[in-house]
Amino acid sequence: MRQTDLAIIGAGPAGLAAALEAATAGAKVILLERDEWLGGQLVKQTHQFFGSKKEFAGMRGIDIATHFSEQIEKNKDIEVFTGATALGYYEDGVLTAAYSGRMLKIKPKTMLVASGAMEKMIPFNNNDLPGVYGAGAVQTLMNVYGVAPGKRVLMVGAGNIGLIVSYQLMQAGIEVEAIIEGSSQVGGYWVHASKIRRMGVPILTNHTILKAIGEEKVEGALITEIDENWKPLEGTEREVSVDNICLAVGLSPLAELLWQAGCQMEFSPQLGGYVPVRDEDLETSQEGIYIAGDVAGIEEATSAILEGQLAGISAARKMGFAVEDKKIEQIKENLKSLRAGPVGEHIRQGLAQVER
């Protein structure tokens, strides 16, 4: 059995930022990552980040991942296990993980779950047909492994992920037939949307997909215009010829471990599904269990980094390590300004519901 101050599950932006903050405050950290590398979904994000300089604006996700990984590897207080899948957290405070064909047992004083999220699915005929891929999977295939997901893609969803992945598809030399969006407005930033439109790709709002066409794999899609109640408008159905249907319809938190550990959960549509109830320092209803990043509510990598910092430093303070209050206030201030404005409104609403 391994003893440590803080065990972190997930080495994406939230987990990495948390590990560094907690170790800086003096805590011993064990970092568990299911994948064989550090960085989580940052490693496929080839676009430059927005926001302010101190939160890596102007850097590409892949470079942020490298930046963090280098610091983590140099840090003697952080022990990293890649290829390690957390299995459960038990009443006696033991965390287990599958690692290299055996079971790791860890008894941490505090724990941070930063397990991220997974792609959502929407209902339409044949939505299980090979060639219907999640947007994250498309990004992984083309940006990490250099394999084209298809020749011609229909993108479903005009949020930031749909817009950014469409642009990345075109960078990789793959055609984008259209982006369809069920609501009447583009959900993502207009700067991304205008870039896509300038490249000649239509963004069809008030549109949805009815069916994936093909026997063994996608050969096309049936799309339709919908009214304000999301009902198909008769006579507007049409077929598009594509070999890939990319779903960018949102993410849901990967919160299994938190359910299993007995954390109080609440459903928040604004945050992407069931998320843990938490206090302003990101501690859940189970004392000593913290959360950060998409598992705490779907946002993006910059807020995941800030939440990671906050949770890491809060866990360190709880264990009695000296932490400046000013530093915590500063991180909270940064999060607040990131979530200010109309784009962050749904996040603010969601948080108001689950913060205690």
């Binding site: 997974m118 299980d128 891929y133 083309m142 492994y145 394999v147 084209a148 030399g173």
Partner: protein
């Protein structure tokens, strides 16, 4: 199909390895997920659903959705989207939920 020209990314040549898919010899890059090599070879169907026998392919790429479970070197239920490709691997379709006793 491999992406050749990219304005931001360059993809390492990598070490070419041979493996078999349903007895057919294919090549891929060592260490990339088995699913990436299969995709490059134009293979889209990775399994059939146990109950309704519907074709299933790549979907989440993070080892979460179970859409890509295959038999690798006799072992069933391998998530090929996150399993690194090695020289000489035998990749096969799996029947139903897979038979762990058949593993060698």
């Amino acid at each position: 199909m491999r992406i050749k020209d990219h304005p931001i990314l360059s993809f390492a040549e990598g070490k070419k390895v041979e493996f078999t898919f349903e007895g057919k010899i294919l090549t891929g890059k060592e260490g990339e997920p088995i699913a990436a090599a299969l995709h490059d070879a134009g293979i889209r169907v990775l399994r059939h659903s146990p109950r309704h026998n519907r074709p299933r392919g790549f979907f989440c790429a993070i080892g979460n959705c179970s859409s890509c479970l295959m038999v690798v070197d006799g072992k069933p239920n391998v998530k090929v989207c996150v399993t690194p490709l090695q020289e000489g691997m035998r990749v096969q379709y799996q029947k139903g939920k897979g038979d762990i006793n058949a593993a060698n």
